[in-house]
Assembly symmetry: C2
Homo-oligomer: 307 residues x 2
Amino acid sequence: FSLNLAADCNAVLKALQPIFQEQGMTETVHNWEDHGYLVTYIKKNGSFANLRIHPHGLVLVDLQSYNDDMKGREEVDQLLNKVEDRMKELIHGNIKRVKRLPAILRGGVIDRYWPTADGRLVEYDIDEVVYDEDSPFQNIKILHSKQFGNILILSGDVNLAESDLAYTQAIMGSGKEDYTGKEVLILGGGDGGILYEIVKLKPKMVTMVASNIDQMVIDGCKKYMRKTCGDVLDNLKGDCYQVLIEDCIPVLKRYAKEGRMFDYVINDLTAVPISTSPEEDSTWEFLRLILDLSMKVLKQDGKYFTQ
Amino acid sequence: FSLNLAADCNAVLKALQPIFQEQGMTETVHNWEDHGYLVTYIKKNGSFANLRIHPHGLVLVDLQSYNDDMKGREEVDQLLNKVEDRMKELIHGNIKRVKRLPAILRGGVIDRYWPTADGRLVEYDIDEVVYDEDSPFQNIKILHSKQFGNILILSGDVNLAESDLAYTQAIMGSGKEDYTGKEVLILGGGDGGILYEIVKLKPKMVTMVASNIDQMVIDGCKKYMRKTCGDVLDNLKGDCYQVLIEDCIPVLKRYAKEGRMFDYVINDLTAVPISTSPEEDSTWEFLRLILDLSMKVLKQDGKYFTQ
């Protein structure tokens, strides 16, 4: 509850106290004098509530219980309804905002919380852990979401979902490129999405270079991200494609030396690369090296795509 | 912390206690005997921590503070790092999962938490409250997100963002319909997205019927959702369109009586309608009535689109 005015901490406590006490909860009050109250209510079944009253006009109620049955949730809703009604009676007209957030579930078999790269809390509608393995380099998870299909998560970082065809299309040039009869080099792309989409477009030859870091990503994706990669990862070689399980830097150097040239280089390496060689001093050095080497194997009118 | 084994509650308390005490926090222990411990640590500045130790092997740490400076956040990270290190020393090899969630911010000017229709907690990258008004029917907010542009939120329900052209395209038939020279009726659609997109396609006439419920939605959108509606809501009449601010049911009845027919009826009314007339007994009655009346004004080969 955000209030329009300073809170009378004692009045708020006195108003809400009976609601918790009716639940058979025992009260412990801490009074900071200058920072308001923390009131803890403890129930016999292991549940508890924190009521934090900030004197400048912010009242926070947290409930925590070990319990996942609907009866428990209904009880929580009823309790919060009572708290809301009592607050509205007490502060009538001067509550700026009431906000009730969904319960956060911790300790379950399925973890539904996968924060974004910019640190925001996002709960996905995940209903199944499809794949969960540790490689020597990272943790590889594939989780099923009703909304997005299977989602690939590398060391806690959401990578790609089966619904993310738009990502693959964008890194291929948003449908504006003609790949027919072309020589294409994919760096990374272990989920197989780019390879699968380009192979459909009758290229001359697609070479995908995925390092051994990606081996277990490929293993997981070829089984559980079929909407992304189709059957293209079932074999490392097809009519118009090959997958090399090698670090891309020596491969690029070899191609550059041999004069092997491509119409397209698509860099789908992870945004923050995992270093396997001592060659690169830093992320930026690594990115510069990849870019320099890519330019060396790109035809005069070739195109380079990346995130 | 999810553990692979039962937790020795007292050992966990003894291991973590010094970390909180070093912070100058005073401890209050509640021991349920059969439900483990709740330990509350209180700091002089108004911050506090809850340490909840479940005997079956779940250890939860919550920190709460009134504070939004980075120094505060760094301190929290350092504290949590210590807790994690100490837990790993104590339970070595038997921690199944460690999960740290981003801080939830409450009571700020900008509310970034807008749960989904299926009750999931989602934090958006909202950086500005662009519009926030109460109409007699609902609260209308337009919030700016870096990722999605301006987002229209009606009574807490995320409606449409400027990035959601895909929604508008889908309800128009995913680009497979030819609207040239056609008579089109839009029910609802107060954000102006459908109207704007169809007007581009040279229809004969588009009639949009938005009830007075939508008046303030239109007012907000024409100012702040310009990527969605362009200039189409600036005037209620254009070369090939008109906007009627009327309840759609009497309008549909009038058209049916007059024999006015349409090539397309697009029903973009909110999923759960706000009742303004006593005519409908329930949501389903309302939806049935709209559908029946729509069929009466649809040409033999006409099409009806809805969510």
